[in-house]
């Protein structure tokens, strides 16, 4: 039987039962590889449940530094009887299957094209440990030990990580180390280690990764740090997966970094609201009052916030919202990822509304863009929605370290303080003095008798006086459009990527690919795969809405463009057609909306199929190959 080979290039997947402590053990595995300086990207695929249901943890190792999902599994570690059948099936031919051999493997689970490694995890732990909870927890550590041998993980690193992990609970270290060693020893004694797939420190690894001192962090933590550095003082929220950890992390860092040295009191306020309407209401109130405020939520919360988002748009109040997208519609799949709130966010609320959206693709961008979100919100006096997703927000990503320029100054936008007010002849809250659609606002309490006005969600004239006159209304909403136009030059520009060399290029016309957020990594990988096959595709990564004109240019420079996204309806494609005035025949959707992050293989397959099927020019959606593992 031909076994899969590969140094620093394979996919390991763990099948566990949730609530059994597997996550931290599996994370230990990924982190160890990271510490070895080898590109790794872990993904936690967990159920919307607290204990007892199937959960998976997928770890991709990629010397080239691909961080998206590849698709397929080379080595499966299965410690969940409920799912063993599908787990066995999901292993690539020539792959490997590690399982708890305390109970013998059922006949129907035996394949002759994969290699099995039985380890009596339960039995070993029952024997070695007394405490029931430990017996369960350490099973996970035992198989990590075994993997250390099978895949060649540096043992000392694992030990270090354990002692970091159990700082404070030292007495837990020794049993864990013991479990590691049990697994390691069992593997070395019973299997030929290491396997044809293995790790090799210092083995050939993409230079851009070796160079910078990468960190391993998730997008929600990065966004929280962005809120700290961006000067957010008010966080109002309502718990919802997968956004909860944004505020958890904000709280953690704020307690460390935002305590007033003199008094020990807090330079921040975190309010757990009664629901999302209230959370957004609090952010609107704080923003109106001149504090940098934000909330974080996911789909259902976005729907509930839409009335307030419309108010903030029309009353021109700065608001920052982090939408960590999950699978919709409705409750959908709360612990699965998607990019399906694009339209709902762009046009949130009734009437003619448009909102600024940011699309981070890495934790680093989650950090930078959150800071920027506050600047943009105050500059444009309007809601700014950062569109993250579960995959980016809750998984650990290898990323260049976060950087901070100490010369950064917050852009508080056009705010008149008492001095400025005294200097102003005639001031009107909605007078477009500068012609950019942005007017000067004042904050409550600023001046004894100048600059007071009434903020409202109803129509008004330039002096902020309630008005039902058509002229006043039209003048006002046209200005809001002008303001949105102005924003185009201030939001993050789309990023092109150095074109990939193609040896024997096929005749295809000029091909382009557009994508955003977590679709980026697998998209780049797919483009390189296709380059091998002779397809030359230029790429542009969208980073914000409203769209910068370079997006239009990119589209016009190409004959056919694939829009790669993770939703059913090709929402970004629709947004582009609406706003860029682009005909449909040019834009072909490449979609995955199964809830698990899109893979390079799916993207490549859909594009390949589409290019082969002639004439594919105006097909809305390329053949759908959903990756549903």
């Amino acid at each position: 039987m031909k076994q899969i080979k590969g140094v620093n290039d394979f996919v390991v997947k763990f099948a566990n039962v949730n609530g059994t402590g597997s996550a931290s053990a599996n994370h230990l595995f990924a982190k160890a590889i990271f510490r070895m300086g080898i590109p790794v990207s872990p993904r936690n695929i967990f159920p919307s449940n607290i204990q007892g249901l199937p959960t998976w943890y997928e770890v991709r190792v990629s010397s080239k530094g691909y961080l998206g999902r590849r698709g397929g599994v080379d080595l499966m570690v299965c410690v969940n009887a409920q799912t063993m059948e599908q787990d066995v099936a999901s292993v690539e031919p020539g792959g490997y299957f590690v399982y708890d051999s305390t109970k013998p493997l059922a006949e129907h689970l035996k394949r002759d094209d994969i290699t099995y490694f039985g380890i009596p995890l339960t039995e070993m732990c029952m024997r070695e440990f007394k405490e029931q909870r430990l017996q369960q927890l350490l099973k996970n550590v035992v198989y990590i030990g075994a993997l250390a041998a099978l895949l060649n993980i540096r043992f000392p690193i694992l030990k270090d990580l354990l002692s970091d992990q159990f700082k404070g609970k030292e007495k837990l270290i020794s049993p864990n180390v013991q479990a590691l060693e049990m697994g390691y020893q069992f593997a070395t004694e019973n299997f030929t280690c290491p396997l044809p797939i293995r790790l090799q420190q210092g083995g050939d690894v993409a230079p851009h990764i070796l160079e910078s001192e990468h960190i391993l962090m998730n997008g929600n933590t990065a966004a929280a740090l962005g809120a700290i550095y961006g000067g957010a003082t008010v966080a109002a929220w309502y718990p919802i997966t997968p956004s909860t950890s944004v505020v958890d992390a904000f709280a953690k860092y704020a307690e460390r970094m935002r305590i007033d040295p003199g008094t020990g009191k807090k330079n921040f306020a975190i309010i757990q609201a009664e629901d999302e309407l209230a959370a957004m209401g609090m952010v609107v109130g704080a923003g109106w009052n001149g504090a940098r405020a934000f909330t974080a939520t996911s789909g259902p919360g976005l729907s509930l916030m839409s009335e307030f988002l419309g108010l903030a748009y029309f009353a021109e109040v700065p608001v920052v919202l982090v939408d960590v997208q999950r699978s919709g519609p409705s409750t959908g799949m709360p612990t699965r990822s998607q990019q399906s709130d694009v339209l709902a966010a762009a046009y949130a609320s009734h009437g003619d509304t448009k909102h600024i959206l940011l699309f981070p693709a890495t934790p680093r961008e989650c950090f930078d863009m959150t800071v920027q979100a506050f600047d943009l919100a105050e500059r444009f006096q309007t809601p700014v929605i950062m569109m993250s997703d579960l995959d980016l927000g809750m998984n650990d990503w290898m990323s260049p370290p976060l950087e901070w320029d100490d010369s950064y100054e917050m852009d508080r936008g056009k705010v008149l303080d008492a001095k400025a007010l005294d200097a102003t002849e005639t001031w009107g809250r909605y007078l477009d003095v500068d012609g950019d659609g942005i007017c000067y606002r004042t904050l409550p309490g600023a001046h004894p008798d100048k600059g007071a006005f009434f903020t409202r969600g109803s129509s008004k004239d330039e002096m902020a006086v309630y008005s039902e006159r058509g002229e006043d209304y039209v003048q006002n909403v046209d200005r809001l459009l002008r303001k949105f136009e102005t924003a185009k030059a201030h939001v993050p520009k789309p990023k092109p990527h150095p074109p990939v060399k193609v040896k024997r290029p096929k005749k295809t016309g000029r091909l382009g690919a557009l994508f955003f957020g977590t679709s980026a990594s697998p998209a780049y990988e797919a483009v390189e795969m296709l380059a091998e096959e002779g397809y030359s595709i230029n790429t542009l990564r969208i980073r914000a809405f409203p769209f910068h004109q370079s997006l239009d240019e990119f589209i016009h420079e190409h004959d056919k463009i694939y829009v790669i996204e993770q939703n059913r309806d090709g929402q970004m494609r629709q947004l582009i057609m609406n706003e860029c005035q682009i005909g449909p025949e040019k834009l072909t959707s490449v979609l995955n909306y199964s809830g698990t992050p899109i893979t390079a293989r799916t993207i490549a397959a859909q594009i390949r199929d589409d290019l082969k099927a002639k004439p594919a020019k105006s097909a809305k959606t390329a053949a759908r190959r959903q990756e549903t593992a």
Partner: protein, 349 residues
Amino acid sequence: MTYIKPNFRHPRLPTNALGYTVSDYDGAISTLCAGCGHDSISAAIRNACFLSSIQPHRIAKLSGIGCSSKMPTYFLGKSHGFNSVHGRMPSVATGASVANRDLKYIGVSGDGDTASIGMGQFIHLIRRNVNMTYIVANNGCYGLTKGQDSATTDLGSVSKIGYANPFDGIDLASLALLQGASFVARSFSGDKEQLEPLIRGAMAHRGFAFIDVVSPCVTFANHVGSTRSYAATRENLDAMPLDCVPMREEIRTQYEAGTTQAVTLHDGSVIHLHKTGKDYRIDDRSEAMMALQSAKAEGRILTGLMFLDPNSQDLHQTLDLATKPLNELSKDELCPGSRVLDSVNQGLR
């Protein structure tokens, strides 16, 4: 601002401790119906702030949607105001309050705005003890949408189109009491003598001060059969009179011993409650609850200060906020800088 009455300052107009005349507390001309109870409340707020010598621009006015929620336009033209969305003013006020702890906040709402669509936010606002004065102009109907019953409309009260309300009305004062509000009062828009000192007390109180004000809707709920008409209200009123003497002001009037109950507020202001026989210890929640319930049972409208806890812990304290308002913090106070970030990076390797 054009919409603020041009206030010509008459030389002989009396001024308060800050040198402001009462007209400095005016707002725009009301567009409410002539005789609407809400206009009397606007006047009472204006007078209360004048008498208590509060700087108008240090007050922020918030409201939801409704005739009542239009009120903030009609008083304190020198103050910022926020007419938010229907029923959600409590959350906006909460956010504003934590953003700047140094301003005084007046929230004005209606019975529909608070008891129907706003019920959830109202209860959680109380629970957080946000430092503000919250006034419900309670006319027992939806004025702005032309007279439908609201959730506070009394059982059996007959609407203008002739239907008797089959549901029991929610008593907001009792609800506020049960949910732990630190200042609970009820009044009547037609009772200036009582309403003004109540508002002054509420503004001086630290924490959530709630005033449920019966405020007749002359257009849709002032007919015979409506339990919130001027006539019905006057007829069933049991008013407990009081005075409020703000901090730094010496007590001018002398009260005969035993005729009043005095409560000192957190900021030093003193409220004098005049004994009426119907009254009880102001710091006893259950007594207050009993009084309200039995009055309701008798179909009477008990007005006055029902309950007061001068030393309650407001949201700023609960959140342990720094004394400097959050919206005034500078970059240096907010941004930890690159060094700290390096250590964060370090921890992520």
